[in-house]
């Protein structure tokens, strides 16, 4: 009890005061990072490292997936498709979840980077959803005898892909970024209902698609010799996607700066033209 009282920062213990100040500094740094100018500086330094580590992890992951992982006793060599299909499915959902959090940032906190993050994430999530659909179809033909069935899991992933396309289209239709950001945020949050449907579709309905085999109660059902290549590739693809996301966010911040400067320049030229027109001859 005495020990607890001695460490309470209310009674002026220097260690606690230092911890509190460090925490405040950390929070201030985090908030500073969320400032677009700081983000540009921070991301410029981080991008090459992120790209390098993701390239390394992908190289190791593909080596493990092609030359170390054995063929599956039922699926044979088509198990190799799973190594790209599964991470793509995870990332398609992860990017949508990130967009939903950013949508909250736009609508609730009106954070300057929230709709930038959301806009930059949409094409990346859409591409991973497309990879998931294409590789799933190419796996389905030899294993199920068909490229496509209107099964709950496949259909809900197709719906996710279509929502992504709708979001990208909405960004392009509305010119003014903050207005577009709010409209897209509402659409994103409405569409988020599809994410748990994708995840639990295999449990809620009788689907042709197999149930979860990696993240499930009772542990993974995949053998370690196939699980490790899958996890390494999933990490590599995740870092690769985050690298692209950071680069796309930088491009979007610059696009907004270009837009602002172009408007300022046009206003200046208008003022100069008006002054020249009203000047005495």
């Amino acid at each position: 009890m005495l020990e607890t009282r001695r460490h309470c920062y209310c009674c002026g213990n220097p260690a606690w005061r230092q911890a509190r100040d460090e925490f405040a500094d950390d929070m201030a740094n985090l908030i500073d990072l969320a400032n677009p100018t700081r983000f540009m500086r921070f991301s410029a330094a981080l991008l090459p490292w992120l790209a390098g580590v993701s390239a390394l992890l992908l190289a190791v992951g593909f080596y493990l997936a092609w030359f170390v992982a054995p063929p599956d006793y039922q699926q044979g060599e088509t198990i190799r498709i799973m190594f790209v299909h599964v991470p793509a499915a995870w990332l398609a959902m992860m990017f949508y979840a990130m967009m939903a959090v950013s949508a909250l940032g736009t609508l609730v906190w009106r954070h300057p980077l929230a709709d930038v993050a959301q806009k930059a994430a949409a094409p990346i999530g859409a591409c991973f959803a497309l990879v998931c659909l294409v590789t799933g179809a190419l796996w389905g033909k030899p294993m199920w005898g068909t490229y496509w069935v209107w099964d709950a899991r496949l259909t809900s992933v197709l719906v996710l892909f279509l929502i992504y396309l709708g979001i990208i289209a909405l960004w392009r239709v509305l010119d003014e970024p903050s207005r577009a950001g709010r409209a897209v945020a509402i659409l994103t949050l409405v569409g988020f209902v599809n994410v748990p449907i994708i995840k639990f579709s295999v449990d809620w309905w009788n689907t042709l698609h197999q149930p979860a085999s990696v993240f499930r109660m009772g542990g993974s059902t995949i053998d370690g010799s196939m699980l490790w290549p899958l996890l390494v590739l999933a990490l590599g693809f995740t870092l690769f996607a985050l690298t692209l996301h950071m680069a796309a966010m930088r491009a979007e911040i610059m696009r907004r700066r270009v837009r602002t400067l172009t408007i300022l320049e046009a206003e200046r030229l208008d003022r100069l033209a008006a002054r020249a027109g009203s000047a005495p001859a």
Binding site: P71, G76, E77, T78, R80, I81, V84, H85, A88, P123, I124, C127, L130, V131, V134, T135, L138, W139, K141, P142, F240, L244, A247, A248, R250, A251, M254, R255, R257, V258, T260, L261, T262, L264, E265, E267, R268, R271
Partner: protein, 62 residues
Amino acid sequence: MSALIQSLGPHAGFILASYAAVAVILAGLTLAIVRDHWAQKRALAALEQRGAGRRRPGGEAP
């Protein structure tokens, strides 16, 4: 290469097509993002070189 394809068995075409699709989609995405990044960087540099958005000491833009 042909040995690798043969080792993939009767479904080699599906496996290779999957990896080709991944390569094409992700390379296209990367290229689009990198090109957009450079285009915005060039546009911003051109505007800043023209002095857009900078104000003169008198309060009027140049």
